[in-house]
Every structure is written in structure tokens, then in C-alpha cells.
């Protein structure tokens, strides 16, 4: 049909006939259903660990996602975390995408924008487990997940440098972290992120976070959290299917008022992952953290990973992990993780 729009010169043979209909998907009864995806996560563990006693096999933290545009102003995302006997809302939020002044708002339950790893779902982590500061500083393996609201704004910097400021307010209810007793006792978080392309093939992503809220140990006790995060990526664009390097690290600090005195705990991890073939990655991680509720306890660890992705939709990963708990007990373990995704094609992790 576009052919009939009288070109100035007749087109030479062979002239393909353009398709009559737009290249749109066929209308079906479930056209407006959300995109549905399921990501299975099987974890097998070999070795002895009396502190974190993981089962030999477990289907844990599998994810079911429902995602769709709601109306011209918003989209909604739901992610359920499914264990063998339980299900919980890992995230479920509305995103207002049509606000003025470069603003964006999220309302609902979400992974809090504190640091980097805390914002990521398990299936995009470069390890089968969370680094020590997540359970030790943020209180649980799941990290800090909260219900409330979040607003963020783009703040352009010179030279096409991306920066974004996020301010969040939550109920203040996360195991071993925040426990607000009244409606007024909320938890607050702020995150500032800067991303810059250093060249076509390298970029750097840095952030700073600050959060505070009542921890519930007394009616007035507060916890202040602060953190910095950094990720450096190298991916030569032409050969990026085969070679990539990611270096990342985070530093966390917790200042926690308790009846027995204020606890100051610090934790960090550093990790590097290198893709050496189309479907293979190796990685290494170092980690150390004091425990927020009792800073006298310090845990540390080191891990090496090998990852094989047969396709975009399956992943096999082994991790050799040594952790030393409270400077007194050492556990050596082999973690083996199988992840598999079905349903809607999600975005590639970045």
C-alpha cells in the first residue's frame, strides 16, 4: 500500500510487496493480560555449615512476575517470591510514568533503593547467595523490602552524565531492621545514583544511600543506615557476546540504638565477574560484615563461582564458598544453583 504513494522514480525489479497489515500481534482473547513469567531457582548445597544450615536441595525464592501497562499514565509490576511452602509479595507496585518535571513515582511494596544488591532480584545476582552485609546489616537474606512510596527525579549533569535522586518513605517494617510502632514512625531512604560512559565499551555506576527509621527496641530507638556502591563494566561492543568484565563493590554502615547501647556495624563486599566465552562466566567475591544487632560479631567470607548459560533462559552455577563466622567457626561449602525462566521475555539484566 505504501507502494502506491507514487515514488518520484519507479522502483526497479524485484519489488517486494509490502505486507498489507501492520506488523502487530494478532488480537486474542487475552490481549490485555499481563506478561507472565516464572523463574525457577533450585539450590543444592554440599558441605557442613552449623550457622546457615541450608537443605541439601531446595526450590527457593522462585519468582512469578505479572507486568503490564495499566493506562496511559501508569504501569504495574507484581513479583511473587515462592518457596516450597510459602508465597510472599516480593514486589507489587504501581509506577506513574507520565509525571511532569522528569519525576517518576512508585507506590506499593518494593525492594528499597538502598545500595545496589538490595534492589536486585535473586535471579540477576552474579552469585547463588547474598553477600554477608545483606543478612548482617539489612537483617535478612531477603534484604530490605518495604511498603510505601518512592519518588525519583533525573538530574542531568554536564556531558550527558546520568544522575537520579530517589526519595522513599515506608511503613518501617522489616525483620531485624526497622519496626515502627505507630503510624508516625516511618522509615525513610534516599539514594543518589550517577552513571557515566567512560568510553563506548566502559562505564561506571556509583551511588550513595542514607536511610533511617525506628528499630523498635525501645519507643525512641533509631537505626541510621548509610552506604556507597560502585559498579564498573567493560564490554567491547563488537565482541560483547563473548567477553565482558564487571567489577562491583559496596560498603554499608549501620548505627543502631539499642537498650544495651548503640551498635556501630560496618560491612562490605567486592566482586568481579568475567565472561570468557559465549556461555561461560567466572567470578570471585570477598565479603566481611559486622552484625548490626551485635557489632562484636564479625563474619567474613570468600567465594569463587563458575556459571554456564546454555541459553538466555537457563543457567547453571557452582559456587565454592568459605565463610568464617564470629572469628570462631569456619564452613566450607559447595553451592549449586539451577535457574530456569519460562513465559514472557524479560529485559536482560544490566
Amino acid at each position: 500500500m505504501a507502494q502506491e504513494a507514487s515514488p518520484p522514480q519507479p522502483a526497479p525489479a524485484p519489488t517486494p510487496s509490502p505486507t498489507p497489515a501492520p506488523a502487530a500481534p494478532a488480537q486474542t482473547a487475552n490481549y490485555f493480560n499481563p506478561a507472565i513469567s516464572v523463574i525457577g531457582n533450585l539450590l543444592a548445597v554440599a558441605g557442613q555449615n552449623q550457622v546457615e544450615n541450608l537443605p541439601s536441595f531446595s526450590l527457593r525464592e522462585s519468582e512469578i512476575g505479572f507486568q503490564a501497562v495499566v493506562d496511559p499514565y501508569a504501569r504495574a509490576d507484581f513479583f511473587f517470591s515462592v518457596g516450597e511452602n510459602d508465597i510472599s509479595v516480593e514486589e507489587g507496585y504501581l509506577t506513574l510514568t507520565a509525571l511532569p518535571w522528569d519525576l517518576q513515582m512508585k507506590l506499593g511494596r518494593m525492594r528499597v533503593a538502598f545500595g545496589k544488591v538490595n534492589t536486585l532480584h535473586l535471579h540477576v545476582l552474579p552469585w547463588p547467595d547474598e553477600p554477608l552485609p545483606i543478612p548482617d546489616i539489612l537483617g535478612s537474606e531477603d534484604g530490605w523490602i518495604e511498603t510505601g512510596g518512592s519518588i525519583s527525579r533525573l538530574i542531568p549533569l554536564p556531558g550527558d552524565v546520568f544522575s537520579e535522586l530517589t526519595l522513599q518513605v515506608f511503613r518501617g517494617d522489616s525483620p531485624n531492621l526497622f519496626a515502627a510502632s505507630t503510624h508516625g514512625g516511618l522509615a525513610y531512604n534516599g539514594h543518589y545514583r550517577v552513571f557515566a560512559d567512560l568510553s563506548d565499551s566502559t562505564n561506571i555506576d556509583v551511588g550513595a544511600s542514607y536511610a533511617f527509621g525506628p528499630n523498635g527496641t525501645t519507643t525512641t530507638a533509631m537505626t541510621n543506615l548509610s552506604g556507597v556502591d560502585a559498579v564498573f563494566r567493560w564490554k567491547p561492543l563488537r565482541t560483547g557476546l563473548y567477553r565482558q568484565l564487571v567489577l562491583r563493590g559496596e560498603l554499608y554502615h549501620s548505627n543502631r540504638e539499642q537498650p544495651d547501647g548503640t551498635q556501630n556495624a560496618t560491612g562490605w563486599y567486592m566482586s568481579g565477574e568475567y565472561q570468557f566465552a559465549r556461555r561461560w562466566w567466572v567470578g570471585a567475591r570477598g565479603e566481611s560484615s559486622q552484625v548490626a544487632v551485635d557489632a562484636a560479631i564479625k563474619n567474613r567470607g570468600a567465594a569463587a563461582t563458575l556459571t554456564f548459560n546454555p541459553s538466555e533462559f537457563t543457567q547453571f552455577r557452582g559456587e565454592l564458598r568459605r565463610r568464617r563466622y564470629a572469628d570462631s567457626y569456619t564452613a566450607n561449602e559447595l553451592l549449586f544453583q539451577v535457574q530456569f525462566a519460562i513465559g514472557a521475555h524479560g529485559a536482560h539484566p544490566f
Binding site: 522514480q9 505486507t19 522528569d102 560512559d197 563488537r238 560483547g240 541459553s311 529485559a347 536482560h348
Partner: protein, 305 residues
């Protein structure tokens, strides 16, 4: 910057026939669309392509720096057919720019109206590899589809910037005249090779093969997106030997090792074939893609006949 955008918004909404100082900001997924938009838009547009011409267009990173580009865009041109599904949806969501959301005038799916091949006629599953359920998204490798895309871009620019109508029409006519002349030249040079059997690395070339009447008899990948396997490589070696396939086309972002091995075993020429503008610095625009590839193909076939 802000005031420039406000000016263009006002122009779009009110349709003033004023000569705008503000350029229409066009962001495209592929460098080819940026090249065509430059040709059609001339001085009235400024373009930015998210993917480089030497990069696998399926695996572009969703970098936050792209969010910044999209937040200021007046028009987003995509290949569609799920080519960009791995990176573009989250970028659009975070752009804070409703002008470029799908369904808005600032969102142009370039596949509409193009000759799209390999639309599945049966139920697709991922057992088939990384198949695209709406058809093969590498359709811009047919210059007649490039003509359709240029017309669609001209129409959309006119809708967004009515004051530029005459400019866009004139630039489109110039582009089409140039394309038509070049197509005669390319067809003349490729005519002796009509019916030639070829093997390609990925399913990137069915549109180009149809246009030049080449016959793709196999791919180095066993299935789309699945890397070469020893057994499939052996099958391809036997196929090339049996069918006397003279040439293997490889996109610039794939590892040349397996195609080279097949070439060594069979005598087929391994030819790096560029699907996009900027694949190498010599390919400066959309016409240049075909200039380069036709030339490379003709040279590779020398002495093969």
C-alpha cells in the same frame, strides 16, 4: 535545553508553521534508522542511535545514559518485532517521556508496512531457539524496505513538525531518487549471482537474500541464538561440500572461529557482512551498507565461478 524542548512541544501541539530553531530530537534503536532519518529530516532533526552498527542489535545494554537520551526525545524509531525486547521497554518506562511510549505519535515502529519474512505459521516455542514470534526483525537489509521506512519517517516527522513538510517531502524525494539509482547498480552487479546458494551465521539475511535472489541453505547457528555445536558444524560442512556453497556470510559481532573452520574444510569464502551503518567506519550511511556489502560479495565471488 529545556526551553528548546518546550518550543518544539508547542509547535507540535499548535501546529505553527514557524521556522523552528529547535531541532526534532530523534532517537533510534538502529544506526540505519538514524541514517534514514538524517537523510529525510536534514537540518531539522538531530539523531542518536542506541546500538552501534558493529553491535549485536539483540543485546544492547539498558544503560542509564540512554534514559537521558530518551527523556529528551521527540521521536523514537524502533525495529519492532521484539528485536529490542531485551533492553528498550525498561528504558522507555524510566524515560519520564510519555511522548515516546508505544501508541504515541512519538513512537514509530519501522516494521509497519515493510516486507516481513519468516512470520511463524505454527505455534512457536523456545525449543526453536530465540525465535521472533512476529517475524524476522532483520528486515532493513532489503533496500525496498528502506524506502518504506523513509516514507514512514517522513510522514511521522511531518505530523510532529508540520512546518517542515516541504523540506521532508523534498528530502524524501532526493533519498528515493538516490536509492532507486543505487538499486539499479546493485541489482546489475549482483545479477550474475542470482540463485547462488549461501550459508549465513545467524538468520540475519533472509530479506537481503530475497532481494538479490540468493538462496540461504543453512546457518552456522543450529537454531537462532544458539551457538554452533560440533554435530551441526559437521552437517554444515557436508551441506557446503554437497551443494558447492561458495560463501559463508558472518555478521561482524560473531566469533569468526567456527565459520573459519568450516571455510578451511570446504573452501568456502568466509565473508564478514555488515548489516548496519557504522559496522566499519567506511559505511557512513544506509546506501553505504549495500555499497559495501555488494562490493564485498562480488569480490569474494571472483574466481569462484
Amino acid at each position: 535545553m529545556k526551553s528548546m524542548r518546550t518550543v518544539s512541544v508547542v509547535l507540535v501541539l499548535a501546529g505553527f508553521a514557524a521556522s523552528a530553531q529547535a531541532k526534532i530530537r530523534v532517537v533510534t534503536s538502529l544506526a540505519d534508522f538514524a541514517s534514514i532519518a538524517d537523510a529525510v529530516g536534514g537540518d531539522r532533526v538531530e539523531t542518536f542511535a542506541l546500538a552501534k552498527g558493529y553491535q549485536d542489535p539483540h543485546f544492547v545494554d539498558a544503560k542509564p545514559s540512554f534514559i537521558l537520551k530518551l527523556s529528551r526525545a521527540d521521536l523514537l524509531i524502533v525495529a519492532g518485532l521484539e528485536l529490542e525486547i531485551g533492553y528498550l521497554p525498561p528504558l522507555i518506562d524510566q524515560s519520564r517521556n510519555e511522548k515516546i511510549h508505544p501508541g504515541s505519535p512519538g513512537y514509530l515502529d519501522a516494521s509497519v508496512g515493510c516486507d516481513i519474512l519468516q512470520r511463524p505459521t505454527e505455534v512457536v516455542t523456545r525449543a526453536m531457539g530465540d525465535v521472533h514470534p512476529y517475524g524476522n526483525p532483520h528486515y532493513w537489509t532489503d533496500p525496498e524496505n528502506g524506502r518504506v521506512i523513509a516514507r514512514a519517517i517522513a510522514a511521522r516527522l511531518t505530523e510532529l513538525d508540520p512546518a517542515g513538510k516541504a523540506v521532508y517531502e523534498a528530502n524524501l524525494a532526493t533519498f528515493e531518487t538516490g536509492l532507486t539509482a543505487k538499486e539499479k547498480e546493485w541489482q546489475a552487479r549482483m545479477a550474475p549471482f542470482a540463485g547462488t546458494k549461501i550459508v549465513t551465521f545467524h538468520e540475519s539475511w533472509p530479506n537481503l537474500a530475497k532481494y538479490f535472489r540468493l538462496e540461504i541453505v543453512g546457518t552456522v547457528e543450529p537454531k537462532p541464538g544458539i551457538p554452533p555445536s560440533p554435530s551441526h558444524t559437521l552437517e554444515i560442512i557436508n551441506l557446503i561440500s554437497g551443494d558447492k556453497v561458495p560463501v559463508i556470510l558472518v555478521e561482524p559481532y560473531f566469533d569468526i572461529k567456527t565459520p573459519q573452520y568450516i571455510g578451511d574444510k570446504t573452501g568456502a569464502v568466509v565473508l564478514t557482512f555488515y548489516p548496519s551503518v557504522g559496522g566499519i567506519p567506511e559505511i557512513k550511511d544506509y546506501i553505504g551498507v549495500f555499497d559495501y556489502d555488494v562490493n564485498a560479495f562480488v569480490n569474494a565471488m571472483r574466481g569462484k565461478k
